[in-house]
Amino acid sequence: MADLIRGEALAQDVWTWVKLPDSGEPVRKSAGKVVLFKLTGEPAAADDVIDRCEVPATGKVLIPLSVWLRRHEALAARMAAGEIGVWLDSHEEPAELADSLGGDLNRLPLIGVNFPKFIDGRGFSVGFILRNRYGYRNEMRALGDVLRDQMFFFRRTGFDAYLLRADQKPERCIAALKDFSTPYQTSTDGNVPVFRRRIGQKVPA
C-alpha cells in the first residue's frame, strides 16, 4: 500500500486514484498543443478507452484529465461537493485543465501530477506552471514513481503531497524533504536566491 505524505507528515488518503483502463494499443493523436504530438508523440487515450474508465460513484476521486474533460458536465454535482480531483500525466497540458475550469484551478481541491518514470522530469515544470501561471493554491500531489531522491525537488517546485511508490519508506522520504538547507536559486517555494541573502547579510540590521 502506498503511503501518502502531506506537508511533512504521513496522512490518511481519502482519495481514490482513478486510472484509465489498459487500452492495449495507444492511439497517437494530437493532445493539447500540436507541438506535443509532433515532437513527443505521446500516446493519447482513445475516446472509447476514456469512456470505459470506471469512476467510483461515491467518495472523493482523483480522475484523469481526459476523463474530466469528457465528463465534466456529468460530474458537476460531485465537483460542487468537493469530491473531484484531477490528475495530469507528465505530457498533458495544464492549460487544458485551466480552460475547462474557466481559468480557476482553485475550484479543485486536489490536482495530481503523474511521474510515470522517475527520470521523466516534466512533472516538475508542470507543477511550477500550475502554481505560478495559474495560481493554484490547493493540494498538489505527486503521483507515480515518487521516490525519496526526488522529494526535495517535488517540494521546491510546489508539490505539497506525495503519494509514495509502494516500496518507499515514508520516514526516509520525509527526511529527504530537507536534504539541503539553503538552495541557491528560487522556485515555487519562493526561496530567496543565495546571492540576495549574501547581500542581505551585509546590510546592517
Partner: protein, 560 residues
C-alpha cells in the same frame, strides 16, 4: 577566484551526505542499479569499461593550486596516479573504486570541489574562455556571469531530469573561444553603446550524431535577466523535448523541429511568468560575484624585459615555445602561458599526480596560485610576469609540460575512446599517438602551422571532431573499428562543421590519410593560408582526390 562561503560549503557537504546514503543503499541492494544510475551520474560517476570513472567538476575551468594538489593526492591514493582533462574543462579519474567514491567526494569538498552535475540529463558544468580576465580582446569578463549561472543551475529543482544533457558555454571576447555556437545554449556577452552588458542567446547548437550550429533567439538580453530567461528556455525544453529517443532528445532537435523563431516565441511567452521576478540579478549581486574575480594584486611591470628579449634571441627552443605557448595579456609585462598536455606519444589531456603537483608549484611561484583548464585539454597559467617566462619554461620542460605544440597538429583534442569509455565505437588514443608519431618532426609541424585535429571515439563527439580542421570519428562497422575523416570544421567566430571526405579507414591507415591531407595543403596553400583557409578556398575535392586517388574504387568496395 571564487571562494566558498557557508552557503556553498553547506550545500557541498549536504550533497556528499546525500550521495553517501544513495551509494550505501545501492550497495545494500535497496536502490536498484537502474535507479542509482541517474543519481550517481549527477555526481559524476560512470560505470565504465574497466572500472567506474569519476568526472570532477572544474567550474568554468578555474582551479587553485591547492585544489590541483588535492586532485593529485586523490589520484594517487584512490586511482593510478593520473587524471584526464576533458573538453568540458573537467578532470576524470579512470580507476576509482565504486565504494570509495563517497570518500573521494568528501575529500573534494575540503577544497571547495565536487562532481555535481558533471554527467546525467541535467545542466552540466558551464564552460568559458580559459583566458577570461586576462585576454586583450576581452569585452566582458565572463566569470562573474558564469558563477551566477553555476549557482542558478546547481540542484535546480525543475531541471534535474531533463530529456538529455544540457551544456552551456559563455564567452565575452571578440574571438569566441568557448564554441558558443556548438552548445545547447551559447551566451555571448557584449556591451551596447552605453556600456551596458547585453547577452546574445544562442540555442540549439551541438555536436553529437546530429551536428547543428545554434540559432540566436535573443540578440540583446540585458544580463540581469539571464536566470529567468534561461529558466524559460529550460522549461520549454523540459516539457517539449523528445524523451522517446535519446538520439533526438537534445534541445537542438526541438529547435530544429519547431523552428528557432517559434522556439523563441514560446520562450518569450514563458519568460513573462518570471521576468523581473525575484531571480532577476541586481547590480549588487553581480558585484559580489565579480569581487571573486578581481585581477591578482600584481605589481606593475615594464612592458619589455631585457633578459626575456635576450633569451628569445639566443635560445631557439625557448623562442619556439614562446611562439606557440605564450599569449598576450591585457596588462603590460605579463603573459599567459599554456602548458601542453599533448607531449607526443602520451594520451592527450592526461596528467600524472607528480605533474599536477609540479603545475601547482609553478602556479604558486609564477601565476598567483591560479590556473585554468582549456577545452583543448591543456592548462593555462594566466598571469605570468614576462621576466619569469624563461625560468618557468625550464621548469615546465623538466616535467614534460612544455611541448611547443599549442595550436599545432599534435595539440589534438581527443576523448578517452574505446580504451576506457563504454560508449565508444573505437579507440581514439592510439590514433592520436600514431598521428603524433607520424608528425614528430617539429620543423615540419611549424611549417604546417595552425591546425586543429580533433578525435572522437564515437558519435557523442566528446572529442569535438565536427569542429576540427581535421576531424576523426571512430565508427563501428560490423564489429570492427573504422575511422571517418572530415575536414573544414572550425571553432571560433567562423564556426563551421567539417565535411566527411569519403569512406572510412582502418586504424593503421589514418596517419597516412592525415599526411596526404597535409601534403595537399602544403602544395596548394598561399603564403598566408592556414590549412582551414585552404580547405575553405578549394573545397573538399582536391583533398579527397589525393587521399583516395587511384585506390578510391577499391576503398569503396572494401569499406562500403
Amino acid at each position: 577566484m571564487y571562494r566558498y562561503d557557508d552557503y556553498d560549503r553547506a550545500l557541498v557537504i549536504e550533497r556528499v551526505a546525500q550521495y553517501r546514503d544513495q551509494l550505501q543503499r545501492n550497495l545494500a541492494g535497496e536502490l536498484s542499479d537502474d535507479e542509482f544510475r541517474p543519481l550517481r551520474l549527477q555526481n559524476g560517476l560512470y560505470i565504465q569499461r574497466h572500472a567506474p570513472m569519476l568526472r570532477i567538476a572544474i567550474p568554468y575551468g578555474m582551479l587553485a593550486s591547492r585544489q590541483l594538489r588535492k586532485l593529485a593526492d586523490i589520484a594517487r591514493r584512490y586511482d593510478r596516479e593520473y587524471g584526464h582533462f576533458t573538453t568540458r574543462q573537467n578532470l576524470q579519474l579512470n580507476w576509482p573504486k565504486l565504494e570509495d567514491t563517497a570518500d573521494i567526494l568528501a575529500e573534494l569538498a575540503t577544497v571547495e570541489m565536487h562532481a555535481i552535475q558533471t554527467s546525467g540529463n541535467c545542466i552540466r558544468n558551464i564552460t568559458t574562455d580559459p583566458f577570461a580576465g586576462v585576454a586583450p580582446d576581452e569585452i566582458v569578463d565572463p566569470r562573474p556571469y558564469c558563477e551566477v549561472l553555476r549557482q542558478w543551475s546547481t540542484f535546480h529543482p525543475e531541471f534535474a531530469f531533463l530529456p538529455r544533457k544540457f551544456k552551456i558555454a559563455v564567452s565575452g571576447t571578440v574571438e569566441d573561444r568557448a564554441v558558443t555556437y556548438a552548445h545547447d545554449v551559447g551566451l555571448q556577452l557584449y556591451r551596447d553603446d552605453q556600456g551596458e552588458v547585453l547577452v546574445r542567446v544562442i540555442v540549439g547548437g551541438g555536436m553529437g550524431r546530429t551536428p547543428i550550429l545554434g540559432s540566436v533567439i535573443h540578440d540583446a538580453l540585458p544580463w540581469r535577466h539571464l536566470p529567468t530567461y534561461l529558466d524559460a528556455v529550460l522549461r520549454v525544453y523540459n516539457r517539449y523535448g523528445r524523451r522517446d529517443n535519446a538520439y533526438k532528445a537534445r534541445i537542438k532537435i526541438l529547435v530544429k523541429a519547431i523552428g528557432a523563431e517559434e522556439f523563441a516565441r514560446q520562450v518569450n511567452e514563458e519568460w513573462q511568468l518570471e521576468r523581473d521576478g525575484i531571480a532577476t540579478v541586481t547590480d549588487e549581486e553581480l558585484a559580489l560575484a565579480a569581487a571573486a574575480f578581481q585581477d591578482p594584486d600584481a605589481p606593475a611591470r615594464p612592458a619589455r624585459d631585457a633578459g626575456f628579449d635576450e633569451k628569445l634571441a639566443s635560445d631557439r627552443a625557448f623562442a619556439r615555445w614562446v611562439s606557440r605557448c605564450v599569449r598576450a595579456h591585457k596588462r603590460p609585462g605579463y603573459r599567459s602561458v599554456t602548458l601542453s598536455l599533448k607531449p607526443h606519444g602520451l594520451p592527450p589531456g592526461d596528467i600524472t599526480s607528480a605533474q599536477m603537483e609540479a603545475v601547482a608549484d609553478l602556479a604558486d611561484r609564477y601565476s598567483f596560485g591560479e590556473l585554468r583548464v582549456t577545452h583543448e585539454q591543456n592548462l593555462v597559467l594566466a598571469d605570468v610576469p614576462l621576466a619569469d617566462l624563461y625560468a618557468l619554461w625550464q621548469e615546465a620542460r623538466k616535467h614534460n609540460l612544455a611541448t611547443p605544440n599549442i595550436g599545432l597538429l599534435t595539440d589534438m583534442i581527443c576523448c578517452p575512446g574505446g580504451d576506457f569509455c563504454s560508449l565508444a565505437n573505437a579507440k581514439s588514443i592510439p590514433i592520436a599517438q600514431a598521428i603524433q608519431a607520424e608528425f614528430d618532426d617539429l620543423d615540419y609541424l611549424y611549417d604546417i602551422g595552425d591546425l586543429e585535429l580533433n578525435i572522437s571515439g564515437c558519435m557523442n563527439s566528446c572529442g569535438h571532431h565536427h569542429v576540427g580542421h581535421i576531424g576523426i570519428l571512430g565508427v563501428d562497422k560490423a564489429g570492427s573499428e573504422w575511422y571517418q575523416v572530415s575536414i573544414g570544421g572550425a571553432q571560433g567566430n567562423t564556426t563551421s562543421l567539417g565535411d566527411v571526405i569519403g569512406p572510412s579507414f582502418a586504424a593503421d591507415e589514418v596517419p597516412g590519410v592525415v599526411k596526404k591531407l597535409i601534403e595537399t595543403y602544403v602544395e596548394a596553400r598561399t603564403p598566408e593560408e592556414r590549412f582551414l583557409d585552404t580547405v575553405r578556398r578549394l573545397g573538399v575535392a582536391p583533398f579527397k582526390a589525393r587521399v583516395y586517388g587511384e585506390s578510391s574504387k577499391k576503398a569503396e568496395v572494401t569499406h562500403g
